[in-house]
Symmetry: C2
Subunit: 269 residues, 2 copies
């Protein structure tokens, strides 16, 4: 089975030092990290902490928000943080409209990638554009489909600009399977989360552990692996109820959900 | 300016007879109707009512829900209702997963269209597949993008199977403008509504009158008209606050919103 990586956002309030200890204890060798907890613990200390525990960082969240004033410096800094942590991919949440028409907001994303790509290549970290669910298009990411994200990647080598593919954001898309098949080299990070209905009042935090919702994981997982994706697979779930539980319990349930979904993906024809 | 059609769902609790009187008084010549209020007033009586007022029905909502047990009879009946009302298009909300994997649920929609297309041609009413916003993919429509909807239309003549294009559902889509340009003959109904953030607790009823949200209407309206769409344009807004207001006031504000947005669309280059 493809190795599992625990994205720390799944246990949002679990301190980094406990996430690392918990992963070590559970035999998990990969983690996805977020910038805020890393900054809080200290960048160099965090890098040392994960290294000492034998963990590998699979991604860092998040850069992007190209409509913000400080986007260039902030994203450049985020790339440097990835390099120090050994994370191969910086997850990009590209930002919403920022008061601009859609087409202009998208053009700013394209220009932002162009400005950052050389530094990404220099430090050996991929800018991993995350196509987000279209319900976030106004306020979080004008990149709202895999097709749109791939269009943004096209001018750059895959080492500079790729994709973060999260099942939660793309599961509904009629085109996602053929696009994965044709663009395996672009997938820099693959994340699993499930779509649960009814949506909660705050739609940002109503995702489910894999297997608890409506996503048909098997075809997506098989397509990504068949397209040549050879990195660990993250589970990243934003869920208010999950966040109220003990980190160890969340990690245990996340591993179980991962193994169950991956087992189904490998057993279906 | 292209004629305006008032979709009665915008004033959900306004009785049909008052909708018709209100439209007459306001000089509105087109209405989009829903099956429940038509049934309540009586089909033949409703047809007579709108005819006597000199109104033309631009669409009837809704058929679809192909996962339901009675889908065939219900959709056939809805086509007959359209014919009696003189509505050229039956809006199809195609239904969610109904417990099936996505690909199977979509195959049922395709099979449903195939079963219904002959009757649609017989009665001269277009089955107008509505691509819905992907946040409804699990529970309301597995047809979640214009590309996916067009794929479903492809086997049939445009007179039998076409598209209901609602700005609320497709505004975020990177591919929507070129797809409109290439498929003008498929657009059987064009509806305007705006995307407002934050989303309300019940995401179904948080749409906005055109101009109150984040949709960039001008490029969409221009693309649809340039592609040859020659019918009236409906405004259809599901909004809990709007529904609490007097029907006459809602109609007045809807006309004003329509004229403002259409004015902007015709004045921009």
């Amino acid at each position: 089975m493809r190795p599992f990586s625990f994205n720390q956002a799944t246990a949002k309030y679990w301190p980094l030092v406990d996430v690392v200890k918990g992963c070590e204890a559970a035999g998990v060798r990969y983690v996805g990290l977020w910038r805020e907890p890393v900054e809080e613990y200290g960048l160099a200390r965090s890098a040392q902490l994960v290294r000492d525990a034998g963990l590998t960082v699979t991604s860092l969240c998040r850069g992007g928000f190209f409509g913000a004033d400080d986007w260039f410096d902030d994203n450049r800094r985020a790339l440097d943080e990835c390099a120090e942590l050994g994370a191969p991919a910086l997850v990009l949440v590209c930002g919403g409209l920022f008061g601009r028409p859609l087409v202009e907001a998208r053009a700013r994303v394209a220009a932002g990638l162009e400005a950052l790509a050389p530094h990404a290549l220099d430090v050996g970290v991929t800018l991993a554009v995350e196509p987000m669910h279209p319900m976030f298009a106004a306020d979080r990411s004008v990149v709202a489909s895999l097709a749109g994200a791939l269009e943004l990647c096209a001018p750059f080598p895959a080492a500079a600009v790729g994709i973060t593919l999260d099942t939660y954001h793309v599961w509904w898309d009629e085109q996602v399977l053929p696009l994965i098949e044709a663009n395996g080299d672009r997938i820099a990070s693959f994340q699993l989360a499930d779509w649960v209905v009814p949506l909660p009042a705050d739609v940002l935090v109503g995702r489910g552990l894999p297997g608890t919702g409506h996503v048909d994981f098997a075809p997506l997982v098989k397509a990504v692996l068949a397209a040549g994706y050879d990195r660990p697979i993250e589970v990243e779930v934003f869920n208010e109820e999950l966040w109220q539980r003990r980190g160890e319990d969340v990690l245990r349930d996340t591993i179980a959900a991962y193994e169950s979904v991956m087992g189904m993906a490998s057993s279906t024809g």
